[in-house]
Amino acid sequence: MENMNQETILSVKDLNIKFTLRGRVLHAIRNVSLEVYKGESIAIVGESGSGKSVLTKSFMGLLDNNGFISSGEILYDGKDLTKFKKEREWQKIRGGQIAMIMQDPMTSLNPLKTIGEQIAEAVRLHQPAVRGGDAVREKVYAYLRDVGIRKPEKRYKQYPHEFSGGMRQRVVIAIALACNPRILICDEPTTALDVTIQAQIMKLLKDLKAKYDLTIIFITHDLGVVANIADRVAVMYAGDFVEIGTAEDVFYDPRHPYTWALLSSLPQLGKKGEELFTIKGTPPSLYKTIEGDAFAPRNPRALKIDFLAAPPRFDISETHMAKTWLLDPRAPKLEPPEGIRNLRKLEVLG
């Protein structure tokens, strides 16, 4: 869309993240670059183990102890986050600048504290201007109302076990908001929830993004979910982005075979009586050096060159890039699979 005039809020440059496991080195993030624009919602999509959570955890200094950034930069607010050494430095980023919502609302809340106290704690820590018990309490009520929890006075005193899964996720969102962040990372926030609740939480996130002027980084394995919320979509495979573009680019004009495969395997597109499309094989081991296109061994229509050399980045338009040899002028013209050619005409059910 109008990305070219947009201001960059977070910039990742040639980032490499490795983990040491039992004496072996796992290369989880392989030379990744990404610009996150202020005020957008960008979705990072990939299978389990593709590295999407590792990447976003590195924005907050939350990598596991055996993980480290081997090279590259994460620029935020003029600072390179990869240079941070002390916890004190990270404390200024975590919550107040970048906040995160985790997948499972059952485990991300403290079961021994009322939800009101848990939100109040975030208000006291991150909003020193709000002083005094009453003012903090009023602020907490306001956040509870914002996330769609009715009767905040009563709910304030309740414990997490008294809430349903969807309501708990709303509480988690309220805590994140109370930190007053600029970037909100949502790591599979709806995977553990029902479809109806999922749709409500997505709507809530969109409303809150507008109200609080947030930038949202949305992580999921399900491309179907992000059509609703994402301005841009970044598809990750084996620790690298294979395609980045606006939602329109990626859904209506996908270029990378892996994006084709992800779209084709959505059950929404399945026809009864026919087999659903599946991606054969498993993602490559990141312990080994990957030669050529990482997706080639699973791609039934891979080119010879895919096994020989890693594809460079091809820019299709100002907003759309993909890393596949198919975009090289010498490559044969391949159409995307038939089932995903007309997503623009796909109707909403019901």
Partner: protein, 318 residues
């Protein structure tokens, strides 16, 4: 055509109550449906709707408080003969939602898959048992050497295959699949669904498929029952239900399905079911035929006038 088909399972006015006295909670409140041999019968509803409880009542895990469940014409709820109990155990099997939680972490795959056989056929030789395990593993696309491994050595999709092998080894006629793919990655989901479909083709297994997601149901089920708060509110063949959804709850479920089309998704209005639109106090609902073969729980006024518009969704103004 459904008149000629053999009824495998007949559920009549099923009630399941948890607790007793003042604390009693009726999770299933008068559910009736029939499952034909060889079909996939879908039960869809949100968390807490009672869909899992229905499945578990059929499996005899939860005792029923009223109503009847007939399997091949024999009542299988309440007190039944040992012989019938063994038959039910062998012929109706279950696949669970979370492959991380439903496998015994301390047992090897060999034992997990054959536990049912060990209990049911005490005299089976070890050799025969092993042969059957190998066969079941092969059928779900796992290698024979996996039998000697522990569950933690497998990925989510492989674990779910182990769960399916465990059901298959009993040579069941009916499998109750309770959210078998909800905990899996999208790409793995398709593999597991294809496997279930292939097994149905080769063995003629009847499925009762329980899920909260109508998009999967639509692909997989022949007929769908929509459950809301312990009652079936709508039941029809899949395409009929999707294209002519009558009950506002069904319509809300349909509108919640995320579609991979960003432009229409952004403009989509989310509909939310608000039970207060019914005037059931004055005019109680009955189970009525809305269109041929398409049943809905509605009162007479709703049958005449339709259910009216569903409310637009609106939270921030609450």
């Amino acid at each position: 055509m459904s008149a000629e088909r053999e009824i495998l399972l007949d559920v009549k006015d099923l009630h399941v109550t948890f607790g007793s006295g003042k604390k009693a909670f009726e999770a299933v409140r008068g559910v009736s449906f029939q499952v034909y041999r060889g079909e996939t019968f879908g039960i869809v509803g949100e968390s807490g709707s009672g869909k899992t409880t229905i499945g578990r009542a059929i499996m005899r895990i939860h005792p029923t408080s009223a109503g009847e469940i007939l399997y091949k014409g024999n009542r299988i709820n309440g007190k039944i003969s040992r012989q019938l109990d063994r038959q039910v155990i062998q012929e109706i099997q279950m696949i669970f939602q979370d492959p991380m939680a439903s496998l015994n972490e301390r047992a090897k795959v060999d034992y997990i898959v054959s536990e049912g056989l060990i209990n049911l056929h005490k005299k089976m030789s070890d050799e025969e048992r092993r042969r059957r395990v190998q066969q079941a593993l092969a059928e779900v696309g796992l290698l024979p050497e996996f039998a000697s491994r522990f569950p933690h050595e497998f990925s989510g999709g492989q674990r779910q295959r182990i769960g399916i092998a465990r059901a298959l080894i009993m040579e069941p006629e009916c499998i109750i699949a309770d959210e078998p793919i909800s905990a899996l990655d999208v790409s793995i989901r398709a593999q597991v669904l294809n496997l279930l479909a292939a097994l149905q083709k080769s063995r003629g297994i009847t499925y009762i498929f329980i899920a909260h997601d109508l998009s999967v149901m639509r692909y997989f089920s022949d007929r769908i029952a929509v459950v809301y708060k312990g009652r079936i509110v709508e039941l029809a063949e899949t395409e009929e239900l999707i294209s002519h959804a009558a009950h506002p709850y069904t319509r809300a479920l349909l509108s919640a399905i995320p579609m991979p089309n960003p432009v229409s998704e952004r403009e989509k209005k989310l509909t939310v079911y608000d039970p207060s639109i019914h005037d059931y106090d004055r005019n109680p609902p009955r189970w009525q035929e809305f269109r041929p073969g398409h049943f809905v729980l509605a009162n007479d006024r709703e049958m005449e006038e339709g259910f009216g518009e569903v409310n637009d969704f609106d939270y921030l103004s609450s």
